[in-house]
């Protein structure tokens, strides 16, 4: 199966991409974001390559979540541009959203719908239907360990259970790109392992997922990533390969980097 065929298997994406999958799946160029007089991001440049898993570190207020929201097209940058899978976001804004799966602090779930109904709703929004939708929902409920609670309303779920369901929601449409903003919030050890498995495993077509993730759990983040990017005061202050990096080692230069 070609890369293009795999991309086309993102429901709703259709043939947004008509040729080879590009080497750079996420590209941010000179991203600046201001809220009134407060500038949160200051000319951020970031590339995430095909199949790469990048962990974005930074102190509170560094602009991590704002950057993730801009990449997810939930917010517009004040200046700068983004490309998703080689497509400028301004040119096919609606269609390329189907190439992305997002997890944030918010679960995006409906409390008064059951777990199964939530996945059915989002599946239909992304263009899945019929037995394909049924099978995909049941498969994911098993994957995130919620098959026995599938008929229960989400309002009765713990935070960790909601986060697991949110993970299922994010990968429901088999997106080639995952944007995960502190996805391990509220997860127990078992669920965190399951999250790691989802991030590192190839997708349904055997292709590696492209992942950009923020987390405050340095050890877990390092274990899952290929590259570490540090954001501080709205700027990228350090980028380094995560291969053979120990958490202690990262911590020493991380604090130095964000103090500058």
């Amino acid at each position: 199966m070609t890369n293009n065929e795999q991309l086309n298997n993102s429901p709703g994406a259709g043939t947004v991409l008509e040729a080879e999958r590009p080497q750079v799946m996420l590209r941010a160029r000179g991203i600046t974001k201001s809220f009134g007089h407060i500038t949160v991001l200051r000319g951020v440049n970031l590339n995430v390559n095909l199949g790469e898993r990048v962990i974005l570190l930074g102190p509170n207020g560094a602009g991590k979540s704002t950057l993730m929201r801009i990449l997810a097209m939930l917010a517009r940058p004040t200046a700068g541009s983004i490309e998703i899978a080689g497509i400028p976001s301004d040119e096919a804004r609606a269609s390329i959203r189907s190439l992305i799966g997002v997890i944030s602090h918010l679960t995006y779930l409906y409390e008064d719908l059951t777990a199964r109904e939530n996945l059915h709703f989002y599946g239909k929004v992304y263009g899945l239907a019929g037995t394909e939708l049924e099978n995909r929902v049941e498969e994911l409920l098993v994957k995130v360990g919620l098959e026995r609670r599938a008929g229960q309303r989400v309002r009765y779920f713990s935070r960790g259970m909601q986060q697991r369901l949110s993970l299922a929601r994010a990968i429901l449409h088999q997106p080639p790109i995952l944007l995960l903003d502190e996805p391990d919030t509220g997860l127990d050890r078992q669920a965190a392992e399951m999250l790691g498995q989802v991030i590192t495993e190839p997708d349904d077509q055997g292709q590696p997922r492209t992942v950009l993730m923020t987390t405050h759990n340095l050890e877990r983040g390092l274990a899952l990533s290929n590259r570490v990017v540090v954001l501080s005061a709205g700027r990228i202050v350090r980028e380094v390969s995560a291969a053979n990096l120990a958490a202690d080692e990262v911590q020493s230069w991380y604090y130095e980097a964000i103090r500058r």
Binding site: P11, T15, A19, R21, I87, A92, A94, Y108, Y110, K124
Partner: protein
């Protein structure tokens, strides 16, 4: 390198997995509507607050205007539309606040289609909630005022007025939801724009209830139709900007 597909082709091919349903735009709008109805049937949160509030408004009128009840034909249409309007605002407020507070609004914004599809789904849901409350309130109103407003000729007025109400209200509810004083801001933004529709609806209702000829209400119906049409089109251009930071 990737090439960018033509926009029309994206829409066409975007539905390749879902041949039984319309294109992604209508599919998303329809799913948002169905989800809102399902959630409301389960919680009855919007419906109960709207119906109880509208009933209370009518009760206030009954006690506040005892001397006027003998001339109910003069005041009833206006009171009826005031009750509909107050109750409707309550429901409109909840439609986006619930999504925002529970964190599901952003999930909708990630849908792979134009964001105005969310507007049309929400507006259809709001229209359904408001019209159901209106149909329930009308007989109670007739009973309390001893003046029947149950006339089949009123249906076009009710439909045109409520469609405008749902369209304009849904747009302004979405504008207000990202502000701090959102529950106060909605009526402040909404009523001045909605006023021509409310006046036209009240006048048409009065004319029908007093058996005046159709010619007297045709201009009012035309005005409501014009408003409905404008606010059917405007959100398609504005809604993306309204909801995005």
């Amino acid at each position: 390198m990737a090439r960018i597909a033509k926009p029309d082709r994206q829409i066409e091919t975007g539905a390749t997995r879902d041949q039984t349903v319309l294109k992604p735009y209508f599919r998303v709008a329809w799913q948002v509507f169905l989800k809102d109805i399902r959630t409301e049937l389960r919680t009855k949160e919007i419906f109960s607050s709207m119906s109880v509030f509208s009933l209370l408004v009518v009760m206030v009128f009954v006690f506040a205007l005892p001397g006027k009840l003998k001339e109910a034909g003069d005041v009833a249409p206006g009171l009826l539309w005031i009750a509909f309007t107050f109750a409707g605002v309550l429901g409109l407020n909840r439609s986006f606040i619930n999504e925002k507070d529970r964190g599901s609004l952003e999930g909708l914004l990630l849908a792979p289609t134009e964001r105005s599809a969310i507007f049309y789904g929400k507006a259809l849901g709001n229209f359904t909630f408001i019209i159901v409350v209106e149909l329930l309130l009308a007989p109670i109103f007739s009973l309390l005022f001893n003046f029947s407003v149950l006339r089949v000729e009123l249906l076009p007025v009710l439909l045109l007025g409520t469609i405008g109400f749902a369209e304009i209200g849904t747009l302004f509810a979405a504008m207000a939801v990202n502000t701090r004083a959102r529950e106060v801001l909605l009526p402040v933004l909404f009523f001045p724009i909605m006023l021509p529709v409310i006046i036209a609806a009240s006048q048409s209702t009065a004319a029908i209830l007093t058996n005046r000829p159709f010619e007297e209400i045709s201009s009012a119906l035309g005005l409501m139709f014009f408003f409905d049409l404008i606010f059917l089109v405007v959100p398609a251009m504005l809604f993306e900007l309204v909801l995005e930071e």
